[in-house]
């Protein structure tokens, strides 16, 4: 972080302190107008950079992975302010593909009302409500999904997570392909998950302030999260009544807020 930015923080912080002395419910009152809020998805594997077709990653299942694809859908963004008020981003515009191979790593939420936001909630995948809107609900997102390998075409639906590569293990010594495609199973199993992340620093939005929330996303959680998903047992998991929901639950724990940049026209 540049010294200049640190300086901006100081000024901001000072501003907040000053205003909070003057009245009770204060800081937000001085934040007026609206602005963009960007969210950066910084993909990694257990603390290391996620590099496609390159590095190998060893997990606690004793499996060594090379990753060729890491794409997922995030959706239904809600921002929560200091008072607990929720701002729900317009649903039709609230679906995004994050794709390492396509270089899609940042989303911009536009026209966010001024506020002092302490948490963000969002979904991993596409909820049934959206899907069941049929033609009207999908918009251009459907084509984006198709173009980024996130359309689950034989189910006329979406892959929420597309995680592919090769692996070896003590029992599988030849590099073997793995494919983890996770999504809802038609009308029979809903794998959409929502998660809430507290922000370590409040994100301030106003006509002059446009923050960036920097998320660290740990792909290791998919197989090595709460429930261990062992590729040597099953390397292709697409529709599995037991493992698919476990993968969905694991994947929902991939996200952590690393830091928040507050300020104007930030570059990061």
């Amino acid at each position: 972080m540049t010294t200049l930015k640190r300086f901006q923080y100081l000024i901001l912080a000072a501003g907040l302190v000053l205003t909070s002395c003057s009245s009770d419910d204060d800081a937000t009152q001085n934040l007026t107008g609206e602005n963009n809020l960007r969210i950066e998805f910084d993909n990694s594997v257990n603390g290391d950079d996620l590099l496609l077709n390159s590095s190998t990653y060893t997990n606690s299942n004793g499996e060594v992975l090379t990753i060729n694809r890491f794409n997922y859908i995030v959706s239904n963004f809600v921002l929560i302010d200091t008072e607990g008020n929720e701002y729900t981003y317009p649903k039709d515009d609230s679906y995004f593909v994050i794709s390492e191979e396509a270089g899609l790593s940042e989303i911009t939420l536009t026209n966010i009302p001024a506020g002092d936001y302490v948490a963000v909630r969002f979904g991993l995948g596409v909820d049934q409500e959206k899907y069941l809107q049929g033609a009207a609900g999908q918009g251009d997102f459907l084509q984006l999904a198709e173009e980024t390998n996130m359309m689950w075409s034989w189910l006329a639906g979406y892959k929420f997570l597309n995680f592919e590569g090769t692996f070896t293990s003590p029992t599988v010594t030849e590099a073997t392909s793995f494919q983890i495609h996770m999504g809802s199973h038609g009308s029979s199993l809903d794998n959409y998950k929502e998660l809430t992340l507290e922000l370590p620093t409040n994100a301030l939005v106003s006509s002059t302030l446009s923050p960036i929330v920097h998320l660290a996303v740990d792909a290791n959680q998919i197989l090595d999260g709460n429930t261990k998903i062992v590729l040597s047992e099953k390397a292709v998991v697409m529709i599995d009544e037991v493992k698919s929901p476990q993968i969905a639950t694991n994947a929902a724990t991939m996200f952590r807020v690393d830091h928040v940049h507050n300020g104007e026209n930030l570059e990061h």
């Binding site: 899907y131 069941l132 809107q133 049929g134 033609a135 009207a136 999908q138 918009g139 251009d140 459907l142 084509q143 198709e146 173009e147 359309m151 075409s153 034989w154 189910l155 006329a156 639906g157 199973h185 038609g186 009308s187 029979s188 199993l189 529709i239 599995d240 009544e241 037991v242 698919s244």
Partner: protein, 351 residues
């Protein structure tokens, strides 16, 4: 209530459109109008929400053109209508397994396309529960149409005829996936088969006089078949295993392919039996060439398994006991389900 308000609103919108275009150059394109969707008196409620996509004259015509257009496939020749032929209630006549691009063969028999607006699950395994999104499955399937949605749209966007048709059918007029799927649905929503001899019989209309044999067949059907082939749609939209021994070399798991659940092994959507006399071959894999073989199967070919429907193993007997006279009567009854009005309806015809 809500619905009639919406209808009223759309009437207002329509009359506004009319009002405006009178002064405009009128020959640009035919004015659009809402099509009446009437629910047959003997049918259950419609599942499709037509307030979200009310069929219009131009939307329907666009949907029909799309349904019969090979542009929807990668080689330009395989249209929806290629596998769904009207004379055979929109099935792929003479094909056990449908073949598409490069003569590649699938592993399933094309079901009839009729009364789709009344159904809640589509394809034999219920891969999708929304009619609008169903076309993604055949279009992107590499043995059916082998295309991508994005490519189809690129082709349509480059075509001035389609630009004009989309503009005439939809308010925003753009050639995009929403309007593409809406138009196809409008066509399929209008495809209602409800004027067979049987329909006329239950509605007490002329032309609905049943013979003694047909009445007897209806009686057998009601006691032995209607628990699954329910209502006047002749399906309960549920997934069930009716005891077909798995097809050698294919082993199609049916609903389990979608749910991932072993409890769904070999379960398939209960098919409608409307127009069944013209939709041979039968079952998801088209294994039976005649209705007589289907009845023989129910009588003596049902195979037990963990997921066999309990209805088919009652009182220590597998399958459904059907005497020769019952079989004869059943076939006479099944023949009353043929709706030649539907099979010959010019509105749905390719040419």
């Amino acid at each position: 209530m809500k619905y009639s308000i919406k209808l009223a609103l759309s009437m207002v919108v329509l009359s506004l459109i009319f009002a405006c275009s009178k002064s405009d150059d009128t020959d640009y394109f035919a004015l659009d109008e809402n099509l009446e969707v009437s629910i047959p008196a003997n049918f259950p409620e419609m599942h499709y929400d037509i307030s979200k996509n009310p069929p219009t004259k131009n939307g329907f015509e666009l949907g029909k053109k799309l349904f019969y257009d090979g542009k929807l496939s990668s080689n330009g020749f395989i249209s929806c209508g290629f596998c769904h032929e009207q004379r055979f209630a929109f099935t792929h006549h003479g094909h056990q397994f449908s073949h598409g691009i490069d003569d590649l063969e699938g592993t399933r028999n094309a079901p009839a396309v009729q009364n789709m607006a009344f159904q809640s699950q589509f394809s034999w395994d219920g891969g999708t529960s929304h009619l609008d999104l169903f076309p993604i499955i055949p279009i992107t399937n590499e043995v059916e149409m082998g295309e991508t949605i994005s490519n189809v749209l690129t082709k349509l966007q480059a075509d001035s005829e389609y630009q004009r048709l989309f503009a005439s059918a939809f308010e925003d007029g753009s050639v995009n996936n929403e309007n593409f799927f809406k138009a196809l649905s409008q066509f399929m929503v209008m495809m209602i088969s409800s004027n067979s001899k049987y329909d006329k019989y239950v509605r007490n209309e002329t032309g609905g006089e049943f013979s003694e044999l047909e009445k007897e067949g209806l009686g057998v059907f009601e006691t032995k078949c209607a628990s699954c082939h329910k209502t006047d749609l002749f399906t309960d939209s549920a997934f069930r295993n009716n005891g077909l021994p798995p097809y050698p070399g294919i082993n199609d798991l049916g609903r389990a392919a979608v749910s991932g659940s072993t409890a769904d092994h070999y379960k398939f959507k209960v098919p409608s039996l409307r127009n069944v006399a013209v939709t041979a071959p039968y079952m998801h894999d088209g294994r039976f060439g005649s209705l007589a073989s289907v009845l023989n199967f129910y009588n003596s070919g049902v195979q037990d398994s963990e997921t066999l429907d309990p209805i088919l193993k009652q009182n220590g007997r597998l399958g459904i006991a059907l005497s020769a006279t019952e079989q004869e009567a059943l076939i006479a009854f099944l023949n009353t389900l043929t709706d030649s009005e539907y099979l010959n309806d010019k509105r749905f015809a390719e040419y």
